[in-house]
């Protein structure tokens, strides 16, 4: 059997595949963060909590209302987006003129309160959610069995990432949005309702977190702590990719997933640390991140 540094190639490919799955979650979450930071200049610390709510709402939808996975895929991100609108309209809006730190503190507070409430209600052990029947089983890729559900996660998140990138970078609507962040007054003068656009941007950003939560529900433990465990890595991804860069967050998210996968093969203890090591290195060489621009 062929080997790379003493590791059989099939094992290596298997780990890279799994890394890609994790990378997809990183990419989707960091994408939402990047959009929100890019357009609103808000560091949305509540992102992890919204991801967690996405997963728990999926569970609630199934167990309390009998809403299946497919409907959840549509409805849950919508509900999270509506919550986002409420938060943006009632609280975040007041902070745009202030320093970034105020937005960070507010969203951090929202995250703590939400997590506390859910922990009080649902405990920390987690809630069971089984994989939809359509995705039971696995594909035999030769080097590994890839569960169909994981394959679906890769497909769905790549599609979402591409769609988001396309809308922002290649459509009229996206052009307005980018213009509005550069110079809101001028864009408003052309008759475009900038405040509504900003609200919608926030809603879409957090909706992405909700969608990631729905995708995660069958694959991981649904628990109030799931957001906290992930969000730190996701922030590192955003920093490495460059704050606010859409393409940067997608590419870095996927790339870091792969690197993490590789680390697990060669020195598994460092899997949690490697992301931060890379972050430190990138910041030393390129303080604005790999894809970031000077502001």
């Amino acid at each position: 059997m062929t080997e790379v540094f003493g590791v059989p190639v099939p094992a290596l490919l298997g780990q890279l595949m799994l890394g890609l799955v994790n990378g997809c979650f990183y990419a989707m979450l960091s994408l939402g963060l990047a959009i929100i930071f890019g357009m609103l200049n808000i560091i949305n610390f509540a992102h992890g909590a919204l991801y967690m709510m996405g997963a728990i709402f999926t569970w609630i939808a199934l167990t309390q209302f009998g809403i299946n996975y497919w409907w959840s895929l549509l409805l849950v991100p919508l509900v999270i987006a509506i919550l986002g609108v409420v938060v943006e309209r009632s609280m975040l809006r007041r902070l745009y003129k202030l320093d970034n730190l105020y937005g960070l503190l507010l969203t951090f507070g929202i995250a703590l309160v939400t997590e506390g409430l859910f922990r009080h209600r649902y405990g920390v052990s987690g809630l069971p959610y089984s994989i939809p029947d359509a995705f039971a089983g696995a594909f035999n890729l030769g080097f590994m069995f890839l569960p169909k559900y994981r394959a679906w996660v890769i497909g769905a998140s790549l599609l979402t990432c591409f769609a988001t990138w396309f809308v922002i970078e290649r459509t009229q609507m996206g052009a307005y949005l980018r213009a509005a962040t550069e110079n809101p007054k001028l864009v408003q003068a052309f008759g475009i309702n900038v405040p509504v656009m900003i609200t919608l941007t926030y809603a879409i950003g957090v909706g992405l977190a909700g969608l990631a939560g729905v995708l995660a529900a069958p694959a991981t433990q649904i628990s109030p702590l799931m957001g906290t465990n992930l969000i730190i890595v996701v922030f590192a991804v955003v920093v490495i990719g460059g704050m606010g860069s859409i393409l940067g967050s997608i590419v870095t998210g996927l790339g870091l997933g792969l690197i993490e996968g590789l680390t697990k093969v060669f020195y598994s203890q460092a899997a949690n640390t490697v992301v931060f090591l890379i972050m430190a290195l990138v910041l030393l060489v390129r303080p604005t991140g790999l894809f970031g621009k000077e502001r």
């Binding site: 094992a11 569960p147 559900y149 433990q221 093969v265 899997a271």
Partner: protein, 406 residues
């Protein structure tokens, strides 16, 4: 001559009278109340298996005593140690020094528990740990004021390990939580399985709170071992089992959770966990006593108790019985009584506390029911074997506790 005799008699009797009077004075409860401190994790990853439920369990033991022992009221105080050893130690010190707490129970999280144990030894007060798993409580870090009550990693690891080997799982691969607890669990289990003819093929260390275990499982799969031993706890165990079922690994290889609580099974559901072997010190549906107590508990807590919570109830109850029997809440006298007593309640049958502080009681090997076998919520386990305490726990001759003279 007569006077001499009388004075001699008096001389002999005086010390006795003095001792009697002393006992009388000591017989009074210190500060007029018996105070029980429940130190636990009220908000973090152990709050389901211990937490609020442990406070409820302690309250139930006090209620069984009618809220009074030797005529003095019993009071419960509680604190959240946030899984931090320094917070736990400070709280214990504050309780012993300024609040007159007589005994601390629960002590989930080995790091926090060991910190409390040190303070208890320093202050000469009793600490009965039901929540933590490390075997250090009764080995390197044993002391005369600490009792390790409900379980330890040696018992859960070796009971499960031996059973799985005896059912044909000879070769093992460990997925181990990368900190002291995980490593000691792996080590204890390894000793047990190699003793009955098992073999360890390899292991992978996974950081605490890993969200995705699939890559470690892939390594385990690649090792070709018959059994994948999960030397981790709580959310890590849950995530490992969930991923194993998704990748279909549980069909070809057996999963052995080395420390699994009933709350973990509840969180995962039977579909995913069916057929797994679980070692536990308590199950609500064992006999009439456990059913009666657990139903009363669940009426208050809205869930069935874990062995930690049942252990907190039992340790509080037995402590109060010892206070009553000793006629005082003086720590040394109560500890002496506790080590003499046979313990019998809803949690323990014929249990006893060894010189190294280990409470020895029967352990149980369960297999998780399939969804069709289960009659309703919390009906999860089939009893496979009852393992007598002296076989489940590390023997006194193996103990590395300095208090044990060999």
């Amino acid at each position: 001559m007569k006077r001499k005799l009388i004075s001699m008699l008096l001389g002999c009797m005086l010390p006795l009278i003095a001792v009697g009077a002393g006992a009388q004075a000591k017989g009074k409860i210190s500060d007029g109340t018996v105070k029980i401190g429940v130190i636990t994790d009220l908000s973090g990853l152990y709050s389901d298996l211990s937490g609020q439920g442990s406070i409820i369990a302690a309250q139930m033991a006090v209620a069984e005593f009618g809220g009074k022992v030797l005529g003095a009221p019993i009071e419960i105080v509680s604190a959240d140690h946030q899984n931090k050893a320094d917070v736990a130690a400070n709280k214990a010190r504050e309780w012993f020094d300024t609040q007159g707490v007589d005994v601390i129970v629960d002590g989930v999280n080995s790091g926090a528990g060991l910190a409390v144990s040190k303070v208890a030894n320093e202050k000469h007060r009793i600490f009965i740990d039901s929540g933590a798993g490390s075997t250090r409580f009764t080995n390197e870090d044993c002391n005369p004021y600490t009792i390790h009550y409900a379980y330890d990693t040696y018992a859960t690891g070796s009971v499960t390990g031996k059973a799985v080997v005896q059912h044909g799982g000879k070769t093992w691969f460990f997925i181990t939580a990368d900190y002291a607890f995980g490593k000691s669990l792996q080590q204890d289990t390894t000793t047990a399985i190699t003793g009955v003819g098992g073999k360890v093929l390899g292991s992978a260390l996974a950081p605490l709170n890993t969200p995705d275990f699939s890559s470690y499982l892939l390594q385990a799969q690649g090792s070709g071992a018959q059994v994948i031993g999960l030397a981790n706890a709580g959310g890590d165990t849950i995530n490992s089992i969930k991923a194993a079922s998704e990748f279909g690994i549980n069909k070809k290889q057996t999963l052995a959770g080395l420390l699994v609580f009933i709350t973990d099974i509840h969180a995962l559901g039977l579909q995913v966990t069916q057929g797994m072997y679980v070692a536990d010190g308590f199950y609500w549906d064992l006999n009439d006593d456990t059913r009666k107590w657990s139903k009363a508990f669940s009426a208050k807590a809205n869930k069935m108790p874990t062995m930690v919570q049942a252990g907190v109830y039992s340790s509080t109850l037995e402590y109060l019985r010892a206070v009553q029997a000793a006629g005082t809440d003086d720590a040394d006298a109560v500890m002496k009584k506790l080590k003499e007593m046979r313990l019998n309640d809803a949690f323990v049958r014929n249990g006893y506390i060894r010189a190294d502080g280990r409470m020895v009681h029967d352990f149980y090997l369960f297999q998780v029911k399939s969804p069709s076998e289960s009659k309703g919520p919390w009906d999860y386990y089939k009893l496979i074997a009852t393992v007598p305490g002296d076989q489940a726990f590390q023997s006194l001759s193996q103990s590395r506790c300095p208090m044990i003279k060999k």
